[in-house]
Amino acid sequence: MDVPVETLHEMFYQIVLARTLDERMWVLQRQGQVAFHISGMGQEGIQVGAAFAMDRERDFLFPYYRDHAFVLAWGMTPRELMLGLFARKGDPASGGRQMPAHYGHRRLRIVSQSSPVATQIPQAVGIALANELRGEDVVTIVCFGEGATSKGDFHEGLNFAAVHKAPVIFLCQNNQYAISMPQSKQMAIENVSDKAVGYGMPGVTVDGNDVVAVYKAVREAAERARSGGGPTLVEAKTYRIVPHSSDDDDRLYRSREEVERWKKKGPIIRFRKFLYENNLLDEESEARLQAQAIAEVDEATEFARQAPFPDLKNAIRPVYYGD
């Protein structure tokens, strides 16, 4: 499976854009302009690789709170994400009702997400089954961390999907921590993909810092789903290079050396090197991309900062149809 050059370029820009936006969000939070940020830094390679492997015109995406780069690559705009961060009017996910990074976009088939970890997994199976029942050629991809795999929702969802051959991809973004809990306290195995064995579905582990590898693995899973082969569990291994959220202090539970070591293996550094080595990127075009990303993010920030707060009726409606 060869990845078209154009796709590689687009992917690179999306990763740069996501990182630029994410960095800005940290700054806004540290400046006190917004109350909270939860970051996807380090996981952009997984998310952009996976997004491009799907059919973004038809498929469903059920993201989780780090899927910043995923929803951008899927079609959400920096403005929309900034509106969510500032919790202003026009936030397409929740109209300011939910915390930032609780994505959702009806038109783009990005399903509304809550905070309780892993609840989206069986729901994604139901979404996929609906398409299957109607005979539609649509695949659902659902994301979560390795911590989420400990929950009953993961188990019941994957088992259901395997028994009913639902066209769904379970994408575990294994960043080795669940807040302060290292993987070793979360599970007694090395590879999350081994969990697929117990469900009778294929499981693969891929280097999540390698955009192209993720792209290929997800593409393969999507093709399997489209051709009636049912679900796949894809584990993409990476590392959370930032604290869990703006409320966390990760120095309490891990060394700076560990973090620095992993930062060097990050998806941007790696993808950039790959592109340079294959003469697909040069300094000039990279600078142009960076400038473009900054401009987009600047514009989005200003837009959201000046956006009004949501109308007060958003505090209490709509709870039922017709509200």
């Binding site: 009806r106 019941e156 709870v319």
Partner: protein, 327 residues
């Protein structure tokens, strides 16, 4: 019109809705070949196939989670929980998820789905096959809750629930399945959600009830009628949203109110009704608001004399009616 058992009315309601709208499907444990452990879904697999009468793994969280996904993506799932006692593993999916999609997504993602669950005691089910669980869910904005007391309402409320744009919990009392019979029209009809029904007119006091206890309350009202105590009996039918207007009107008319349910008293539906009355019809009250409910033990015990002792019944209700009427 034909006389039907409540069980049959539910079955027919399901069958008709599935025939009317191919987005409707049922899913749950043993709903296929077995027709459900109570036979409510009997024959549906033959008529609609395995896809629309879907046997699922033994996993209530999964059943509800999957049903939510189906609803989000254009289907109208009717999920069966084999016994209401087993709905708790799905509590998170119902309360945190199904109930909140509309609100949390600014109305862009919605969950039109029905959860059917047989509930209630008096059938030798012991602690874990007898529970009343409606009170937990009645606290949750975003959910609707119905409990049919007659075959007519069973079918009409089920159709209304399936056609509703929001998640509806539909609790059916196991003991009423074959015990309660009544006329059910052949033509299509719905019983609107949110509307209570006056089952018996009366002037001295009003008793609110639902499910199996409605039968016992009606028998008690009959019993005390012989003693010149005139009891109005209201079938709540919907527990969320409560039909506040009808409740308050009945209290304004009679001046005395009683609530009868099989669920535990503390924080049961009776608490909310008493609170609404004492907040909004205080000036009309001529006596304390009385709740008739089982003792504060965790669900119905199995051994027949224990079960008998535990369950409210017409005699216990009549006693409370006499006392309140005399107040």
């Amino acid at each position: 019109m034909a006389e039907k058992m409540l069980l049959q009315a539910i079955h027919d309601g399901l069958q008709e809705e599935m025939a009317r709208d191919d987005r409707v499907l049922v899913l749950g444990e043993d709903v296929g070949r077995r027709g459900g452990v109570f036979k409510v879904t009997e024959g549906l697999i033959d008529e609609f196939g395995e896809d629309r009468c879907m046997d699922t793994p033994l996993a209530e969280l999964g059943i509800i989670g999957v049903a939510i996904g189906l609803a989000l993506n254009g289907m109208r799932p009717v999920a069966e929980i084999q016994f209401a006692d087993f709905i708790h593993p799905a509590f998170d999916q119902i309360v945190n998820e199904a109930a909140r999609f509309r609100f949390r997504s600014a109305g862009t993602w919605t969950c039109p789905m029905v959860i059917r669950a047989p509930y209630g005691g008096g059938i030798g089910g012991g602690l874990y096959h007898s529970q009343s669980v409606e009170a937990f869910f009645a606290h949750v904005p975003g959910l609707k809750i119905v409990v049919p007391g007659t075959p007519y309402d069973a079918k009409g409320l089920l159709k209304a629930a399936i056609r509703d744009e929001d998640p509806v919990l539909y609790f059916e009392h196991k003991k009423t399945y074959r015990l309660v019979k009544g006329e059910v029209p052949d033509e299509d009809y719905v019983v609107p959600i949110g509307v209570a029904a006056v089952c018996r007119e009366g002037t001295d006091l009003v008793a609110f009830s639902y499910g199996l206890m409605l039968q016992e309350t009606l028998r008690a009202a009959e019993e005390v009628a012989a003693e010149q105590i005139s009891v109005e009996v209201v079938d709540l039918r919907t527990l969320r949203p409560l039909d506040k207007e009808m409740i308050l009107e009945a209290v304004r008319k009679t001046g005395k109110a009683m609530i009868v349910h099989e669920d535990n008293k503390i924080m049961g539906i009776g608490a909310e009704i008493a609170a609404v009355i004492s907040e909004e019809a205080f000036d009309y009250l001529d006596g304390p608001i009385v709740r008739v409910a089982p003792p504060e033990a965790p669900a119905v015990p199995y051994s027949p004399p224990l079960q008998e002792y535990f369950m409210p019944n017409a005699a216990k209700i009549a006693k409370a009616m006499r006392r309140l009427a005399a107040y």
